[in-house]
């Protein structure tokens, strides 16, 4: 079987002994090379834990993560993490923070080469001129840019982002989303991102994985973003014919279905290994093309 770049297979995590209910279990999904996948779900469903397992910072209680056909057993420079709270080292400058990552990636490089490489990524995120500043002198948006530059500078196979924009104000968030979209398109980066912002997911993601509420959280379904990448622009996203269909589907899931999913699948053939791939956007442009259950998952 041809595996995607990231393949999450039967992942489970429980805290404490095995009598405790699992935060999530039987999680299966994959991320293809060059794909941007968002995971959406309520707080406490274990989103961050999944990302930490992917990053190698946490151990699963069951199942495995296969990256590039090899099971991961810890953190790796191939999987760069952009942390929710930027996680910059406050005693280092912008240059120092990125150079720390670069010299970790290429230990044999001399100082000049490290700095030259780091400078490229500082420019990429639009922070030229701020190289000598400490994190405390930067705004929240600039700090997160440094975090993005640090992650990109090690030229990883994939980026893992844990709600990277959630602490930012709306304007800054929008600008950074645009930049991430641009950078990912330019570098054909594979991205796995956690968010609870529906619009962010629609703007950025090619596929959106929907996770039910914990404990015992699982993947309910995967929404294909049928709006092509080059038609997704933050300013006129809401004018796209598919936008509201997709948005309503996601909101409906978060508001109602995420907590009643167990009832929804009772008596149906729910296979956690092959969750449904739905395309609510297509229903809007070409209504009869595909029947998408909006309120219940039960099919007649």
């Amino acid at each position: 079987m041809e595996r995607p770049l990231i393949s999450i297979e039967g992942l489970a995590r429980r805290f404490g002994d095995s009598t405790q209910p699992a935060v999530f279990e039987d999680i299966w999904f994959g991320v293809e090379r060059g794909e941007f996948v968002c995971l959406i779900g309520h707080s406490g469903c274990g989103k961050t834990t999944i990302l930490n397992v992917l990053a190698g910072l946490d151990q699963p209680s069951g199942g495995a993560v296969i990256v590039d056909n090899r099971e991961i057993d810890g953190p790796s420079l191939d999987r760069a993490v952009i942390f929710q709270g930027h996680a910059l080292l406050p005693w280092l400058t912008v240059m120092g923070n990125i150079a720390f990552a670069v010299s970790s990636r290429w230990p044999s490089w001399n100082r000049a080469r490290v700095q030259e490489h780091a400078r490229r990524f500082i420019e990429l995120v639009g922070l030229k001129g701020a190289e000598a500043k400490r994190p405390a002198q930067l705004s929240g948006g600039m700090k997160q840019r440094v975090g993005i530059a640090r992650a990109l500078s090690i030229q990883p196979k994939m980026l893992l982002m844990d709600e990277p924009f959630s602490a930012l104000d709306a304007l800054t968030r929008g600008m950074l989303q645009d930049e991430v979209l641009r950078i990912c398109a330019d570098t054909n980066q594979t991205v796995f991102m956690i968010t609870h912002d529906v619009d962010e997911a629609i703007l950025l993601a090619d596929r959106i994985v929907l996770m039910t509420n914990g404990p015992g959280a699982r993947i309910a379904e995967i929404v294909q973003n049928t709006m092509p990448r080059d038609e997704r622009h933050r300013n006129d996203l809401h004018r796209h014919p598919q936008y509201y269909a997709i948005r309503n589907h996601l909101v409906e899931f978060l508001v109602n279905r995420s907590r009643a999913f167990d009832q929804e699948i009772a008596g149906t053939a729910y296979d956690p290994r092959r969750v449904k791939l739905v395309k609510p956007g297509l229903a809007a442009v070409n209504p009869p093309a595909e029947i998408v259950p909006l309120t219940t998952g039960r099919r007649q």
């Binding site: 810890g74 996680a87 005693w91 970790s104 990636r105 994190p135």
Partner: protein, 284 residues
């Protein structure tokens, strides 16, 4: 108030001067010889303290002017050596300072690496905690007899006492600083596949440095307190010995001079470490 053209600093300095002048004035009045009265003191005590006090004409308590003269005398020639019992006050301070820096330095060499291990390992932390808890509150001078007996050298014994008293604050602060390094900074190092040694020096040490420096500042303060007492016990050289010697000479002026200089040196030590601490502090 700025409108009056005087900042808070200037006003505080004026008030300080005023308090200083008041103290000096009160002191001058209190130390004034009482004229004309007969023997005011117990004859036994009078014999002990000398003829001037015996008549009550002059107290053994010096006036501020006497102190000023004593300070001037000491500062004019601080580094003379005339025999083993007559050394300049600068020489004595240098002896004490040398012992403190040596004991403190040795303590830092032990406490910082050990504190690192304790902070990194919950197992070691728990295993060593009872020892630290019991030994930490012991007055360092209580170690003196044990040190004298085992080391059999009074100079090294006083250095050992300084070592023992400065080791605890540094040990505890280093362990605390290392243990409370933010999880996310360690995670950054882990995701970058940074080795343990590089993580220790590039992430944990700078992150814990402000806490470690606070421990060092506490340590040097305690060491400077303890050295005076230790030298009083051990004798021979040092500012503590000087104070005790001048007590035997009943030279209050010299003792007051020493007190002021001990305070001054303590202030300088504290300020030096405060400067160092500022260098490693980072705003978050």
């Amino acid at each position: 108030m700025p409108s009056l053209g005087k900042s808070l600093g200037v006003r505080a300095a004026l008030l300080s001067l005023l308090i200083f002048a008041a103290i000096v004035a009160l002191w001058q009045i209190a130390a004034q010889p009482v004229a004309g009265s007969g023997p005011a003191v117990d004859p036994e005590y009078a014999k002990l303290v000398g003829a001037a006090a015996a008549t009550g004409a002059k107290s053994a308590m010096p006036t501020p002017a006497d102190i000023g003269a004593a300070i001037w005398k000491h500062l004019a020639d601080p580094f003379y050596v005339r025999g083993s019992n007559d050394k300049g006050i600068g020489v004595q301070l240098a002896y004490s300072l040398g012992r403190v820096l040596l004991g403190f330095g040795l303590a830092a060499l032990v406490a910082v690496p050990l504190g690192f291990v304790i902070g990194m390992s919950p197992l070691v932390y728990r295993a060593l905690d009872p020892f630290i808890q019991i030994l930490k509150p012991v007055s360092p001078l209580a170690w003196m007899p044990l040190a004298l007996y085992t080391i059999k050298d009074s100079a090294i014994s006083s250095i050992f006492v300084i070592f023992i008293c400065s080791v605890w604050p540094m040990l505890i602060n280093t362990a605390f600083g290392v243990a409370s390094v933010r999880r996310e900074w360690l995670n950054v190092a882990r995701t970058l596949e940074v080795g343990p040694l590089r993580t220790a020096f590039k992430v944990i040490l700078p992150a814990a440095a402000p806490t470690i420096m606070t421990g060092m500042r506490i340590s040097i303060g305690i060491a400077w307190l303890v050295i005076v007492a230790a030298e009083m016990l051990v004798g021979g050289t040092g500012i503590g010995y000087f104070v005790w010697n001048e007590w035997n000479n009943l030279s209050i002026a010299n003792i007051v001079t020493a007190i002021l200089l001990i305070g001054l040196v303590g202030l300088l030590l504290d300020q030096a470490l405060a400067r160092l601490a500022k260098l490693v502090t980072y705003p978050e």
